[in-house]
C-alpha cells in the first residue's frame, strides 16, 4: 500500500512539473529551433541530476531519522499547501485555470517577438529552455527526494518519477495537442492533497507521533485535505457568484 501511494504521488507530482517543462521546451523549439531548445533542456537536466546526486545522499544518509522526517515533512507541507492554495483558488474562479498548453502558447508568442535567431548558436533560446527546465526539474528533484527520504520509500518515488518521465516523453513525441485535454487544475489539486497528507504524516512522525492504523493514516489524512479543499472551493465560489451578482 505504501509503495503504491508513494509511487502514485511521485508520478503525478513529477509528471505535472515535467509537463510544464515540456511546454517551455516545445515553445522554444517551435519559435527558435529544436536544436537549441533541446541543448538548453539537456544542460538543465544534467545540472539538476548532478545537484540531486550531490545533495541527496548527504541529506538522506547523514541525519537522524526523526530529524530527517521533520525536514522532509516540512518541505512537503510547503509544496503541498502552496499547490492546494492555488488549486482551490483556481477551482473557485479566483485565479486563471492551470494550462501547460496556454503557457506554451504564451511562451511561443513571447519568443516569436524576440530577435530572430541567427545561423549560429541561439544562446537566448538555450537560456530560456535551461531556466524553465532547471526550475521545474529542481521541483521534481525536491519532491522525489522528499517522498523517497523515509526508509523504504526511495524505490517507489524513483519508479513514480520514471513512469512520469515515460508518459510525458510520449506526450512530447505526439506533439503538444494532448496538453490541451489534460485536466491540469484538478490534477494539481490532487497532488496538493497528496503532498499535504504526506507532509503532515512525516512531520508528525518526526515529532514522535504514532498514527492510528500506521501507514493507512495517509489515506484518512488525504481524505481530510480533500474534503476541506472541496468545502473551501464551494465557499469561495459562492462568494464569487454573490460578488458578481451585486
Amino acid at each position: 500500500m505504501t509503495f503504491v501511494l508513494t509511487m502514485a504521488a511521485a508520478a503525478t507530482a513529477a509528471g505535472i512539473e515535467m509537463l510544464e517543462a515540456l511546454a517551455i521546451v516545445l515553445a522554444v523549439g517551435i519559435a527558435r529551433g529544436f536544436r537549441d531548445a533541446l541543448a538548453g533542456a539537456l544542460a538543465a537536466v544534467v545540472a539538476v541530476v548532478l545537484l540531486c546526486l550531490a545533495v541527496g545522499p548527504a541529506l538522506l544518509g547523514g541525519a537522524d531519522l526523526h530529524f530527517l522526517r521533520l525536514i522532509i515533512g516540512s518541505i512537503l507541507l510547503l509544496f503541498g499547501l502552496e499547490w492546494l492554495r492555488k488549486g482551490i483558488l483556481r477551482m473557485a474562479g479566483l485565479r486563471r485555470r492551470s494550462s501547460s498548453y496556454d503557457e506554451f502558447v504564451e511562451e511561443r508568442a513571447a519568443l516569436g517577438g524576440a530577435i530572430a535567431a541567427g545561423a549560429g548558436r541561439d544562446w537566448a533560446a538555450r537560456l530560456v529552455a535551461f531556466k524553465g527546465v532547471f526550475l521545474e526539474g529542481l521541483e521534481v528533484g525536491l519532491i522525489v527526494l522528499a517522498l523517497g527520504g523515509a526508509p523504504g520509500r526511495l524505490a517507489p518515488a524513483l519508479v513514480g518519477a520514471a513512469v512520469a518521465l515515460v508518459i510525458v516523453s510520449a506526450i512530447g513525441l505526439v506533439l503538444h495537442q494532448p496538453l490541451r485535454r489534460l485536466p491540469e487544475t484538478q490534477l494539481k489539486l490532487g497532488v496538493g492533497v497528496a503532498l499535504a497528507a504526506f507532509g503532515t504524516f512525516f512531520t508528525a512522525e518526526g515529532l514522535g507521533v504514532e498514527w492510528p492504523l500506521a501507514d493507512l493514516a495517509l489515506l484518512y489524512l488525504a481524505g481530510l485535505f480533500a474534503i476541506t479543499s472541496w468545502l473551501a472551493i464551494r465557499a469561495l465560489a459562492r462568494r464569487v457568484t454573490l460578488a458578481a451578482a451585486t
Binding site: 507541507l77 510547503l78 499547501l81 502552496e82 492554495r85 507521533v209 476541506t228
Partner: protein, 70 residues
Amino acid sequence: MRALLASLRRLILGETWTIPLGVGAALGLAVVMRAWLPHATWQAVGGFCLAIFVLAVLALSLRRAHRGHS
C-alpha cells in the same frame, strides 16, 4: 540572476509568506504541545493536532488571497 533567485524563492517558499510562516508557526506550536502534554497523549493525538494547525494555515492563506481579490 535576480530573476532566477526570485524564481527559486517562489519555487521553495511559494508565492506568499503566509504558508512558510504559517508552517513554521504550526511546527513551533506542535513542539510546545509535545513538551507540555504527557508523552503517551502526544503520541496518540499529536498528529491530529498538527493536521488541524496545517488546515488553519491553509484557511489563513486562502482568506488572505480572497481579500486580495475583493
